[in-house]
Every structure is written in structure tokens, then in C-alpha cells.
């Protein structure tokens, strides 16, 4: 991923953000198509699927909620799991907060464009973030994600059995890639949380309804209680 210049050059524009995010935008469209297909095969109506991408705009939480619904898991578990996955946007939003300007409503709307990729792109060094890069990059990702979702949801009907194409392994592979991006290779505490979450979830599978093992894995994050 390209980084903005740090040599005190011209301030980045919205177009800079859009241009720099473009390669990731293509991948986001692909994920959006995947989400639309999964949601369709989980029995979600097309409008609900597209509205979810337009309002939640957070891939991993949407995939998790749709996969709980696909397994006929309890609705409350689908909601709790997705919300827990999105709790990471609390510290992410706090880190980017100084970049935003204007009144509370404008900040609320613009803050919706902060997702993992636009946040990483907009980091201009030293913990500072650029508002135009967040918005320019975020708008491209938003269009790619919502558009891809609509295409995937429309295509889900004639695709048939997702298992025949190995799509039931595509989603865990996507999550593995997202997990890889969480720094488990270099951050020992993140690796420990991942392994503990995995162990908790697998241990609960035989004893609880689908989705509960996923939500319970959140308890593994409590290892962050002590420094």
C-alpha cells in the first residue's frame, strides 16, 4: 500500500485518497461480491443484504453475522458477535478523532468512512491521520463494498450450491487473511488471544447452539487486562 509523503510536501487531497486506495478498492469489490453470495445463500433478502453493507460497512462483522444466520444460529448471537467484532472501531475512531472538524453531525457522518483500510491509508505518521485521505479513500471503498454486495446478492440465486465451488472454505480463508493482518506474526499477545479464542470456540462447539462459540471467544481478549 502506498503511503502519503512525509517530507512536508503538499497536503493530500480527496483525489489522492481515492487514487491510493484504488487497488484495495478492487479487492473490496471482490469481498462485497463474496458477502452478497454468502448472505444470499444464508437466506437474507436482497434489500436487507445491501442495506447492511450500506449501514454497517464493516466486512468481518457482516460475514460473521451472515454465517451465524446461514447455520440457523440464534439471532441474538449473530448480533452480539458482529457488534463485538466492530468494537475495535472504538479505539480506531478515537485515534482518528483529532483529524475530523466541524459540528457533531458532520463528524458522525464522516466517521462512518473510517474502516480498517482507509484508517491505515490515512496514517501520515506519528499517530496523526489526514481527514481528506480518510474521506477520499473511504468513499471509494464504500462504493466498491456496497456495489459488490448488490452484484453478489443478485448472483447468489443462479450460483447454486456454494459447497460445489469450495466457497465454504473461501470465507474462512478470507478471515485467515484478515487475522494475518492483525499482526499475529509479530505481536505475541495478539497471537495468544487468537489461539485462546480458537480453543474456547472449538471446545464449545459440541455443547452450544451455532454462533455461541464465536461470541464466547471474545472472552480471550481479557488477557489484555494485565499489562
Amino acid at each position: 500500500m502506498s503511503r502519503p509523503p512525509r517530507d512536508g510536501g503538499q497536503a493530500p487531497t480527496l483525489a489522492d485518497g481515492a487514487r491510493r486506495i484504488a487497488p484495495i478498492g478492487i479487492a473490496a469489490a471482490g469481498f462485497g461480491i463474496s458477502f452478497g453470495i454468502l448472505a444470499g445463500s444464508a437466506g437474507m433478502p436482497l434489500p436487507a443484504t445491501v442495506v447492511m453493507s450500506a449501514t454497517t460497512f464493516a466486512g468481518s462483522a457482516q460475514f460473521a453475522a451472515a454465517s451465524v444466520l446461514a447455520d440457523a444460529g440464534p439471532v441474538a448471537v449473530a448480533i452480539v458477535t458482529a457488534v463485538l467484532l466492530n468494537l475495535r472501531y472504538l479505539p480506531i475512531g478515537l485515534s482518528a478523532a483529532p483529524a475530523f472538524e466541524g459540528g457533531a453531525l458532520r463528524r458522525l457522518v464522516e466517521a462512518q468512512l473510517v474502516v480498517d483500510e482507509s484508517w491505515a491509508l490515512a496514517h501520515v505518521g506519528g499517530g496523526r491521520y489526514d481527514r481528506r485521505l480518510i474521506i477520499g479513500g473511504g468513499l471509494v471503498l464504500y462504493a466498491a463494498w456496497v456495489g459488490g454486495t448488490a452484484v453478489g446478492a443478485l448472483g447468489a440465486g443462479w450460483l447454486g450450491d456454494p459447497g460445489r465451488l469450495g466457497l465454504d472454505a473461501a470465507f474462512p480463508a478470507l478471515f485467515l487473511a484478515l487475522l494475518w493482518g492483525q499482526g499475529i506474526g509479530r505481536d505475541r499477545r495478539a497471537l495468544a488471544a487468537a489461539l485462546l479464542g480458537l480453543g474456547l470456540a472449538l471446545a464449545l462447539v459440541p455443547f452450544t447452539p451455532p454462533g455461541v462459540p464465536l461470541a464466547a471467544a471474545a472472552l480471550a481478549s481479557l488477557i489484555g487486562w494485565r499489562r
Binding site: T49, A82, A97, A111, P172, L176, L179, L202, A217, I223
Partner: protein, 102 residues
């Protein structure tokens, strides 16, 4: 309201509020360090659990089938620094082939 719409509305409202909390309400005040450490570990814990459950379970049974071969291939692709879409394609193709052969 159907289950799908209930999930869409609740998750959407909660996510909008979570994303807006920092920039719109807290005015950039930092979280307590302990809470920040815990929230930073939520994503790795939940993502790992999702991978494990999605690959190794079928309903309430733990199983090892073609999906495991697919995700193992994905892990190799990740270690070779393949782009994400290639990683996903490798996982799907491996699973489909193993399933067809089994």
C-alpha cells in the same frame, strides 16, 4: 420483522454509534489503557475463532473434511505473501478439488 432485518437494523445502528463515538462524542479523549488493550485483542480472538468454527465444525460436531485442506492451502499462500484474492481462490479451488476426488 424477519431475523435477517433484525440483524441488519441492530448491527447497523450499533456500528454507526461505535464508529461515531470517538470523533463525535468523546472529542478525542483516549480510552483507559486497560480497555484499549482489551479492545485491541477482540479482533484476533474473534477472527481466529471464526476460522476454527467455520472449518472444523458441522452443526454441533467437530469434523475434518475438504475445508481443512482448503484453509491449509490458504495458509501456505499467505506465508508466500500472495494477494488476498489469490489466497481465497486457492482455498476454494483446493476444497472443490479435494471434495470432488473424495
Amino acid at each position: 420483522m424477519s431475523a435477517a432485518w433484525l440483524v441488519v437494523v441492530c448491527v447497523g445502528a450499533a456500528t454507526v454509534a461505535i464508529k461515531a463515538a470517538g470523533p463525535a462524542l468523546l472529542g478525542g479523549r483516549p480510552l483507559p489503557p486497560r480497555l484499549e488493550r482489551i479492545t485491541a485483542l477482540l479482533a484476533p480472538a474473534l477472527l481466529a475463532a471464526f476460522v476454527g468454527v467455520a472449518v472444523l465444525s458441522s452443526g454441533r460436531r467437530l469434523v475434518a473434511d475438504a475445508r481443512l485442506a482448503g484453509v491449509a492451502a490458504a495458509l501456505v499462500a499467505l506465508r508466500l505473501r500472495a494477494p488476498v484474492l489469490v489466497v481465497i481462490a486457492v482455498a476454494a479451488a483446493t476444497t472443490a478439488v479435494v471434495r470432488a476426488l473424495a
